[in-house]
């Protein structure tokens, strides 16, 4: 594929995929846990939270990157927090304007996006050191990874805990939902399961690559 895409595009794609896969904020870096468990009782809520976080992450990454030469080093964390809080307030009003039902479902966790360690971490580690274009792409990648993670949680919890996906009943009326899945313990269990899956998959890949590398060396 890199033959077809130019070098610059490959870099950008890599930058994007970095956030989705290798440094998935939820499953690899284990950040942004509070909203991840609290609102993922249904797939719709999970995706909405993912979108809201994406909005805040991208906008704040953009602004921090644009202002990166201006922000004094000594108070940079405080400045990032203020910028992030600004966009969280904006998204708070946007969601209220779009749908009050969604706002009620997501509850306090919209405002709690401001303390999502993922966003502050990105501002400090990346957006403050890179030009706006790269910062935005990286932010989008992280957001996509986070949203995928949230969706994975929300979908499993909704399917097992309510027998529906996106509100559409999957198993019919006789299905006895596994209610614990939409309760707090279920959130912990499902996340633990996904981490297990990820960990197992990572090891399998490592073993495969080691075997291939060994075979290539022996060949």
């Amino acid at each position: 594929m890199s033959i077809i895409m130019s070098a610059a595009t490959t870099d950008r794609w890599d930058e994007f995929m970095e956030g989705v896969w290798r440094q998935n904020p939820l499953f690899v870096m284990v950040l942004g846990l509070c909203p991840a468990l609290a609102v993922t009782v249904s797939a719709v809520n999970a995706l909405s939270m993912g979108l809201a976080t994406a909005f805040v992450l991208t906008c704040s990454a953009l602004l921090v990157s644009l202002l990166r030469k201006m922000i004094p080093k000594e108070v940079r964390i405080a400045t990032y927090i203020v910028i992030i809080a600004t966009f969280v307030t904006v998204v708070d009003y946007l969601i209220q304007a779009i749908s009050l039902a969604l706002y009620d479902a997501l509850g306090a966790f919209i405002q709690l996006i401001v303390v999502n360690c993922m966003i502050l971490g990105r501002a400090e580690a990346h957006a403050s050191k890179n030009p706006p274009g790269i910062a935005v792409i990286n932010a989008l990648g992280m957001s996509a990874g986070f949203a995928i993670g949230l969706f994975a949680l929300g979908a499993v919890r909704e399917i097992l805990g309510a027998g529906t996906l996106f509100g559409i009943s999957l198993f019919g009326a006789s299905f006895q939902p596994w209610v614990v899945m939409v309760l707090p313990p279920g959130g912990f269990f499902v996340l633990g399961m996904w981490l297990l899956v990820f960990s197992a998959w990572g090891r399998w890949r490592q073993r495969k690559q080691a075997a291939q590398g060994g075979a290539a060396q022996n060949a």
């Binding site: 609290a38 405080a78 307030t89 306090a108 401001v114 707090p184 313990p185 197992a200």
Partner: protein
């Protein structure tokens, strides 16, 4: 609402434990609960910050409401919390440098602890008065400390057990947290 102070405390401490039922404060919960000797002081420091944040949030909210500046609430709260954490850091550095070093990076991370901001936001949303707010903050902090200490105690024991290596690390912690959360569901309805 007309909840008594005792009800609010029991609620935040046990029945609706901030960590295991409300999903707040998870990052430090997973991050700091490896060792018991850091878990307990972390809980104490967080409780103190919650108390300060609660007091300030109560006062700030009155001010913001008076001047009709409610849309600045989030920024104001988070700035107060960051300042409170700075204060705790300075005090600890001066009066207990050993503890300061032991907590290390996790002390400034109290700022991004959603439990602290959660206390401020919830007490505003539920329109608690002064006494109710204080009890809520103390209860939440106690609940957080309880959860983190329980978690640390079990995790220390687990290090000596035979766990399949694929499950070690974060996956195991979450399974453990799930079981703790399930246990805490038994407190539902306590305190009326």
């Amino acid at each position: 609402m007309h909840e008594s102070a005792a009800q609010i405390f029991i609620n935040a401490f046990l029945a609706n434990n901030f960590v295991l039922a409300m999903f707040l404060g998870l990052c430090p919960f997973i991050g700091v609960s490896g060792k018991l000797e850091t878990a307990a002081p972390m809980g104490a420091a967080t409780t103190f910050v919650m108390l300060v944040a609660s007091l300030c949030a109560y006062g700030l909210n009155l001010l913001l409401a008076y001047f009709n500046l409610e849309f600045l609430r989030l920024i104001a709260y988070i700035v107060i919390i960051a300042s409170a954490v700075q204060l705790v850091e300075m005090v600890l550095k001066k009066y207990s440098p050993g503890l300061f070093r032991a907590l290390g990076i996790f002390l400034p991370l109290i700022t991004t602890n959603c439990a602290v901001l959660g206390v401020a936001l919830f007490q505003t949303a539920r329109e608690y008065d002064f006494i109710q707010s204080i009890t809520f903050a103390v209860g939440a902090g106690a609940g957080f400390t309880l959860a983190i200490v329980l978690m640390a105690s079990v995790r220390e024991r687990l290090q000596l057990s035979d766990v399949p290596s694929v499950a070690q690390g974060a996956a195991l912690s979450f399974m453990l947290a799930g079981i703790l959360s399930l246990a805490f569901m038994g407190f539902a309805g306590l305190g009326g």
